[in-house]
Amino acid sequence: DVKVTQSSRYLVKRTGEKVFLECVQDMDHENMFWYRQDPGLGLRLIYFSYDVKMKEKGDIPEGYSVSREKKERFSLILESASTNQTSMYLCASSFLSHNEQFFGPGTRLTVL
């Protein structure tokens, strides 16, 4: 079974704080993705990576950065959290040229 884990299920941070969301997968997938999910807006791609140290912007990268130092781990960083970044954050992974993505359980982030 594909296993994608995320560091926290629920997180509460204050405006201006630096926030790290961690994602780990155990299936040796090359691709890893970060999405946010909001009511009425659906799933939106923030960043993805297809190799260690490689990253590409998704549809809404503003206010976010990412880090991929190891194949199994992909981190999403909010440099200075803002209230409009309150959302459900989902990590996913897939094999290099495959379409099927496997998701983690999500982190519900609240920024006060």
Binding site: Y50, L90, L96, S97, N99, E100, G106
Partner: protein, 114 residues
């Protein structure tokens, strides 16, 4: 207009009924189609994966793709209360060398009442 349209619901059905879900899309380049199930406060789980047009069956689930109409469907037979969830369609134009991105519908919430 969104690239992938999906009725948000909720779609309420009695236990045992057939659940019928669908998505329409505008990008004729889409060739790979997926259905995900998402329970409340959980991550999406891959249910069905199809390529190009045609039908695919897996247990109580049947996925249909009609590329000429740019329309995909998911049918759930003998629905159970445990099928109550949000169902997301997703699609992709094809297999790139790396980093195939998916375009998602907004999801349809389904309630199966005992």
């Amino acid at each position: 207009q969104k690239e992938v349209e999906q009725d948000p619901g909720p779609l309420s059905v009695p236990e045992g009924a057939i659940v019928s879900l669908n998505c329409t899309y505008s990008n004729s380049a889409f060739q790979y189609f997926m259905w995900y199930r998402q329970y409340s406060r959980k991550g999406p789980e891959l249910l069905m994966y199809t390529y190009s047009s045609g039908n695919k069956e897996d247990g109580r689930f049947t996925a249909q793709v009609d590329k000429s109409s740019k329309y995909i469907s998911l049918f759930i037979r003998d629905s159970q209360p445990s099928d109550s969830a949000t169902y997301l369609c997703a699609m992709s134009p094809g297999r790139k060398a790396a980093g195939n991105k998916l375009t998602f519908g907004g999801g349809t919430r389904v309630l199966v009442k005992p």
